[in-house]
Each structure stands twice: as structure tokens, then as C-alpha cells.
Subunit: 258 residues, 2 copies
DNA sequence: CCAAAAGTGTTATGTCTACACCCATGT
DNA sequence: ACATGGGTGTAGACATAACACTTTTGG
């Protein structure tokens, strides 16, 4: 019952990813990945940019805290939210011991436009990050590798796009994330083979050339049964908009007998 | 600086895997996966079995705490140690809010013989677990899926075997973990193709039939450069005996500006 | 010499990649 | 009509699985 001895403080932070709006039309450059950061208003790290986050309230779930701070700082709601890793080296934060449970999230590109952005909250291009507080740079780097690897065996790219999208837009997301060109023909077949794409029947006119079909994601693969969830399970995975759920908690640890 | 307001307590637990000794010779059944559990000596969950673990000391790293409690309860040192997931639902533990950072570990089968095992510490067969405290059953289940999936794209099986082993023993580990038979011919080729197996030149005599070659793992793929680590990165991964290192920490969270 | 595991070879099947080619639309 | 992205077809490279076959030991 006593919990007042020296303890680490628990924080929750989130790495948020979105695709830059210039993914539109057909002319422009490749779209790029962006992430919002907040300016630190206190020591340590005053003035530097950091991941959105906060202390964990006693009565809030980890994912809940991640989604809340995400909403508070960006005004957005995540289309995808998954635990990334827990960082807890003793010297992480100057002054006191802080353990941070970090999540990563994907938001729709059309939401980004109405996202908060002021003097203390700014979106940065993924390959043009500012000076970051603590080792948040390494954390973002790790979140990026996770996003890249997961994009290849899962179909989470839709979480970065609006409800309806063209095959080229979907490919653009993959190309932006993986940072390499993909063969349009093979990409199409691969995507169609997953069975998660539904042709809405509509076509996007106004492009300079042949109007492309508009697709949406099949909500069929909705959140699986709660019994045997799979947070970071390497094969396929969460597809719908919901978060990636982990097995239920329950670990305590007054263990270590005697 | 104040850290006395209501906060969650931080625990670290570990799911430990080992291969049952009966993997020897060539006669017997398939070897099986086993895991050590400790009996809870306090409420909540008094008398039930639980994962080894304990509260996180302020000055100890997460992985350090995991390795230490592992050593304390089993007398073993992990050949492989990786963070699994952090469980933090508010109702996880009756009474107070507990957030548990859970690790999973692999230990050599020949070490298991000299492992601790008394009234309060016991090794259980993976498909014959006792009544578990909290939702530790779900956590073990999740650790198992992680082990299974990771076994297929990584070569961590050696962490469950002695220094030198036969191809059949290695295959036995895969079969025990994946719970299905594997073609000996194809398995051999797949393993040889990874380039991580080294023929020691020795042969194991005393079997009933043709003496098999003894292999060891190539320490070539030692821990990669620290800059861009990859804790749970889905493709290939840690091979040597060392732990899986994550990107450095650094997250704080007095953030949430405005 | 026989049984059985160790180890090698061969073929069928499926997946991935590169790239040729036709289609439809705005200009 | 024509340039250009949308969309389809197809052949080679490569990985995987199934299984026949040869080798080597203990009994």
C-alpha cells in the first residue's frame, strides 16, 4: 500500500505521422511524411522541440493518455495507435528518473489541414527535423523504422489517407514512407491481392489524364476477437481504424518470493 | 521535482523460455517449451503462480531489472532478452494502479538443469500452465506468439541450445516452438543459407545411427552499431547472445504547452 | 545386412520483378 | 493526335515445398 519511496515517474508520449497535403492532384512532387512537435516551456530542454506527451494520470489507460495528449496538442484523433516501446534508462532525463511509454500514431492527411499549429506546436518534415530535446530524435527514428517495416507486411497506409483514395495516392504513401519508387503495376496487384481494397465505382475526374478509380478500405478485417489480440505481431495486423490492442494487462510484481 | 501525487507504480516482469532437457539423444519425444513461475506469497493473488518480477528500483535500467529478477528467481542468466510490451490498464491489479514493463527471455537448455526449483519456483510445460495470477496467462500467450513469429525471420533459436548442437536439435527447437513438423532436408538448407551456422568439424557419436555434425552459431552477426538499433524490428535481427537494444530513451513530458 | 537418421539432389509450385503494351482522358 | 498516367499481360528470376535417393552408423 505504501508507494511513497523513491520511484520513477511515468510519462506517455506519442510519435504522430501524417502525409503532407501536397499529395493531391497528379502534378507535384512526392508527398512527404510529417510529424508534429511541441516546444518545451520548462527545463530541462527549455525551448527545444519534443514529442507531445504528459504524465500518466492514475486513472487513465496508457493508450488513452496517448490519444488524449495527441488530441490536446494537435486537435486530431488517431486513425491508428500502437505502443512503440518503453524507454527507461536511468539517465534519460536530467534531474529525475523518468520512464516513458511511447506510442506511435497515424492520422488522415485531410485532418492535418485543420490541425493545430501555432508558435509552440509545429509540423516538421521527416527529413528536416529540428533540434530535439532528450533523445527524442532517436525515438522518432525508431518509430520510423517501425512504420516502414510494418507498412510492408500490414496494410496500415489507409490510416494516412482520406476515406476514398486512388491507387496512385496509396502508392504515393508507400513511396513516401519507404522512400523508394514502386512499380505501379506490381503495386496494384499486390494491393488487390490483399482483398482489403474496395472499388467504390467512382472515378476521380479533373486529372490531366485518364480518371483513376476511387477505392476505400474494406472494414471487413475489423478488430479481431479480444481473447488473443496481437499488438505488434509481425504478420498482417490491425486494418480498420481502431487501435492495435494488446493482450490484457495483469502483471503485478510483489512477486520475488520471500 | 515533486513526485508524491497519486502515481502508478512501475513493475518489471519477465517471461522466460527454455527447452525441456529431454531434447537429448535421438530416441524420445519432441522437446517442449517450458517457463518458470513463482508462487505469490502476498495478496493480491496469494498462492497463485505468477511471472518473476519486481518493482523497478530508481537507479536500475528496465532490462537490468528484468535480468536481475530473472537471475534471482531462476539462478540463470538470459541468452536473449527483449522488451515485450508494457501493460498498464487501470484495473490491472486490484487495489492500486500498476504499470508493468514485461520482457521476454531465452535461456540455454543445459542451464536449466542447474536452475532453481523449489516449492515457490517451478518450471511448467508451455501447454500445461497452472492457474495464473492477474492476466499473466494472456501475457505468456502473447510472449509465445512473439517467440513463434520471431523465430521465423530471425535466428534466435540458438539462445535455447547449448554452444554446440546438431542440426536435428536445432530443428527440434523450431518444431517445439512452432508446434509442427519441419522437413529435415529443407530445414537444413534454410539454416545453412543464413550463413550463421558453423560446422565445428566434430561429430556426435553414441547415437543409434549415423553420427551428426555439431554446429555452433557464428558470432559474426554480433550486436550491430548502437546508433540505429532495432528492438522489435520485424526483419532479421539480433543473433548473438546479447540482448536486443532499443533506441536510446529521452522522453520526458512536462510538455503539453499552451 | 538391416533399420533409421544424416545428408544430397531434383522437380513442381508459387511469388516477386521488370517491362512491354493497351486504354482513356485533357489539352 | 498525342502525351501521360491508368491499368493489364507475361516471361524470367528466385524462393519454397515435396519427396526420391544415397550415406553412414549401431545393432
Amino acid at each position: 500500500m505504501s508507494l511513497h519511496d523513491a520511484q520513477a515517474r511515468l510519462a506517455v508520449s506519442t510519435v504522430i505521422f501524417a502525409i503532407s497535403p501536397e499529395a493531391d492532384g497528379d502534378g507535384g512532387l512526392r508527398p512527404s511524411l510529417r510529424t508534429p512537435l511541441v516546444r518545451r516551456l520548462r527545463e530541462p530542454g527549455l525551448g527545444r522541440w519534443a514529442l507531445p506527451g504528459g504524465w500518466l494520470p492514475v486513472d487513465e489507460s496508457l493508450a488513452g493518455a496517448a490519444a488524449r495528449t495527441l488530441a490536446e496538442t494537435t486537435g486530431l484523433s488517431p486513425r491508428y495507435l500502437e505502443q512503440l516501446y518503453t524507454f527507461g534508462e536511468p539517465e534519460r532525463s536530467p534531474g529525475e528518473r523518468v520512464v516513458s511509454v511511447v506510442y506511435w500514431a497515424l492520422v488522415h492527411s485531410d485532418e492535418v489541414e485543420r490541425a493545430v499549429s501555432d508558435e509552440n506546436v509545429r509540423w516538421f518534415d521527416e527529413d528536416d527535423l529540428p533540434d530535439l530535446a532528450f533523445d527524442h530524435a532517436a525515438i522518432i527514428e525508431y518509430a520510423l523504422t517501425r512504420l516502414r517495416t510494418k507498412l510492408e507486411y500490414s496494410r496500415i497506409a489507409h490510416a494516412l489517407l482520406p476515406e476514398r483514395f486512388t491507387m496512385a495516392e496509396l502508392r504515393g504513401v508507400h513511396e513516401a514512407v519507404l522512400r523508394r519508387r514502386l512499380d505501379p503495376a506490381n503495386f496494384r496487384r499486390t494491393m488487390e491481392a490483399t482483398g482489403t481494397l474496395v472499388d467504390t465505382g467512382e472515378r476521380l475526374s479533373g486529372t490531366r489524364h485518364r480518371p483513376p478509380a476511387l477505392y476505400r478500405f474494406d472494414p471487413a478485417h475489423s478488430p479481431a476477437a479480444p481473447p488473443s489480440p496481437a499488438p505488434a505481431a509481425p504478420r498482417h495486423a490491425a486494418s480498420a481504424s481502431a487501435s492495435a490492442v494488446p493482450p490484457r494487462p495483469g502483471t503485478d510484481s510483489k512477486d520475488t518470493p520471500e
